[in-house]
Assembly symmetry: C2
Homo-oligomer: 443 residues x 2
């Protein structure tokens, strides 16, 4: 059972009565029925790539792996939909869409191993949210095994359906606490035929916002990626991660990676990007910029952004905050949170980066150079409190895209209003009165 | 109280204990608290433009009009959001967005009088859904007075927030049965600076689908409208509605109105549309096409589509079906449902039109020429059953964008599975255990 009980970061060590690997909805339904009768807790697990311990069982619970339920039931390009089982790996779903000359736009670091069921249960985000929305916006229908073992067939492939409460919304982002998603109808989009990527040195942190607004307006809202990178991200990347290079001759404090996409072959996006950047340089928003002229150059620019987590891992202990604030508040949040952290720990390295276009900052702290890793990590909760207090004060979220799981359960109860917790508990009670679905996570 | 108790089509005649017109969330909360204590039913009402009687009270209920809660609390172009109260008229919200050089994309026939609160409560659709989604996709946060009079402040303006159940999803499309929406944070988009519109004569009904797929792929997915028009729509329009003209010299069986939009000034969309249509003519998909060269021409093309409901009203009795099926099934649905209706009523006039891009067909029947209106309307339920049986058999929805209200409550219970009704009832019980919120609608 070991591979199912450990997770990558080693924060959670699960224990389980057994690991069940059903091959069909009927098999899973039969299993849940037995667990319901016996009052045994069930923890569903997809690709086991979650970062909050939401798929980590204990106390004699049954772990249900969806990995054998991995059929792509249908791909329907005329309808721009596909129907897949929960255990389909995200990348497999992306590939199936592409073979039908379409695109499934969810994209995130773990896409080679995370599964669609987990993506839906955690309402996954990633780099395409600015244009295509979170996983919630990409789901048209669901099939769910309910906590009593009955199967809800909500596998509709409709763009408009207003016939009562939209039940699927409860299971999306429900982290398996209300039922187990077994299959889904997903939205597809026309396949991009033109992609333009630029890496910009910004004149200031505030300039990132100005550039985002200009980019959306000047490109027909075809901005499909807008990532913020701090100077320290490039410094740590070039020092620690092979393949990361600084594209500029001099240092700048802040950078943005912009990506534009279009399904049109001659989309004019390259010209639009050139004009956008020339105008932004003239307006003092952008200090310098490079455009990718080949797939290799595009990969090199993305490598700067994607190398940051790897560089952080190599740089020792890291205390992570997956937070969001209103997009326009990102610069103010970064300034304020950085100052507060440095007051408490003057030699911490603040590494804020990520999905600026969604207001989603990975506000990570790397341990002081040469410092003690365990001593640094021992201050995890103290740092969380400092950062999360500011996030909540600015109307933000303490978990933008990773969910709650077991890791952030105490934080959730600390920050949510009692009314909100009460409403969540009433929903939980309504759908899972015996509390057997993923006990220990979220509520 | 009369203006609040009657609705436009005269299908529902409400009666109420009183009409309350609170000016603030606090006033409304105090009112709801009293009603909760006394067990008095409450029916919320926005612009009173709903088509399903969902805002029509009876049996001594209290009608709550949100119309005085009509402040635009803030417009934040840097964040691409605005915060408005429930009673703001949709067009007022659109205008406020435009003054900030943004766009709020929800657009529908009643936009001059319908209100944001009603739009959210019914998850309104309209003509922009293909590109921007239903109202559900346009809401970031809500403020809601709960059935016990407490106020839930969920007015977040975050693009990513995964901290427990997404409570706002219950109130969106909940038709006022779980609480009363008092304010919302809405998503804005860059303002379109280029719009291209074409009216196409199709070679067949199936060709509509082929044209939609081509249009999405060839224009960078910038198709913001794709409406289906049948020959009879043009015939009735030119005969009965001033300003409707047939743009072609000869008759065709089916037509599509395509609209493309971009926030780019020199978007290349006109060239893209010309190439798209030339290719479609060559491929035998399109028989003939006209492009709008001015705002007047654009209005004239839209008038053909928008004149259909007015023409139907002038043509006598009309039995309406606001249904959806998977987009790719629209032609098969129209064929099958038309045949079934004509078997039962050979001289009925079948007028199927609407939002093909969303699979949403207004499958309306006009009374036989010179026939008896009352005799025709007396067969409403019989015709509903014929059409809805086919819709449900094809995996469709019996209410795509109008909701359930009182009008379709019996149909809802006829077609939904007992399990789905049970899940809805459990949610209702969890949030409104005394059943005082919009009793008589939906459940």
């Amino acid at each position: 059972m070991a591979p199912y009980l450990e997770e990558e970061r080693g924060l959670f060590h699960g224990s389980a009565r057994l690991v069940a690997r059903p091959a069909s909805t009927a098999e899973l339904a039969a299993l849940v029925k037995i667990c319901a009768q016996e009052g045994v807790g069930i923890v569903p697990q997809g690709g086991n790539t979650g970062l909050c311990g939401g798929a980590s069982p204990k106390d004699g619970q049954v772990l249900v792996s969806l990995q054998r339920m991995n059929r792509i039931r249908s791909v329907d390009p005329a309808n721009f939909t596909m129907t897949v089982e929960a255990g389909v790996v995200l990348q497999t779903a992306q590939d199936a869409a592409e073979r039908a000359d379409c695109m499934f736009p969810l994209s995130l670091g773990a896409e080679g191993s995370c599964q669609i069921g987990g993506n839906i249960s955690t309402n996954a985000g990633g780099t395409g949210v600015l244009r295509y929305g979170n996983m919630r916006e990409l789901v048209l229908g669901l099939e769910v095994v309910l906590p009593d073992g009955r199967v809800w067939d909500g596998l509709r492939s409709l763009r408009k359906d207003n016939t009562g409460y939209d039940l699927k919304q409860l299971f999306i982002g429900g982290e398996g606490t209300l039922g187990i998603i077994t299959a889904a109808v997903l939205k597809l989009f026309p396949r991009p035929r033109d992609r333009q990527t630029a890496f910009c040195a910004l004149s200031s942190l505030d300039a990132a916002l100005a550039l985002l607004g200009r980019a959306r307006a000047a490109t027909g809202d075809q901005v499909t990626g807008f990532e913020l990178v701090p100077r320290i991200g490039i410094e740590m990347g070039t020092a620690l991660v092979p393949g990361v290079n600084d594209p500029f001759g001099q240092a700048h404090e802040w950078y943005a990676l912009i990506e534009l996409s279009s399904s049109q072959q001659n989309s004019g996006l390259q010209e639009a990007l050139e004009v956008l950047l020339a105008d932004a340089v003239e307006a003092g928003v952008v200090a310098d910029a490079v455009l990718a002229n080949s797939l290799e150059q595009r990969a090199a620019l993305w490598k700067i952004r994607e190398g940051i987590p790897e560089a952080q891992k190599k740089a020792g202990g890291s205390i992570k905050h997956d937070v969001s604030v209103p997009v326009a508040q990102v610069p103010a949040f970064i300034e304020r949170a950085s100052q507060a952290v440095l007051r408490a720990m003057p030699d911490a390295r603040v590494v804020p980066f990520g999905h600026l276009g969604d207001g989603n900052v990975h506000f990570n702290l790397s341990q002081p150079v040469g410092g003690d890793k365990q001593g640094f990590l021992a201050r995890w909760e103290e740092m969380n409190r400092i950062v999360h207090d500011i996030v909540v004060d600015m109307g933000g979220s303490i978990s933008a895209e990773h969910g709650i799981g077991r890791l952030k359960k105490a934080e959730l109860h600390h920050y949510k209003t009692p009314l909100e917790i009460e409403l969540m508990q009433r929903i939980k009670q309504a759908l899972d009165p015996n509390g057997i679905m993923n006990p220990g996570s979220v509520l």
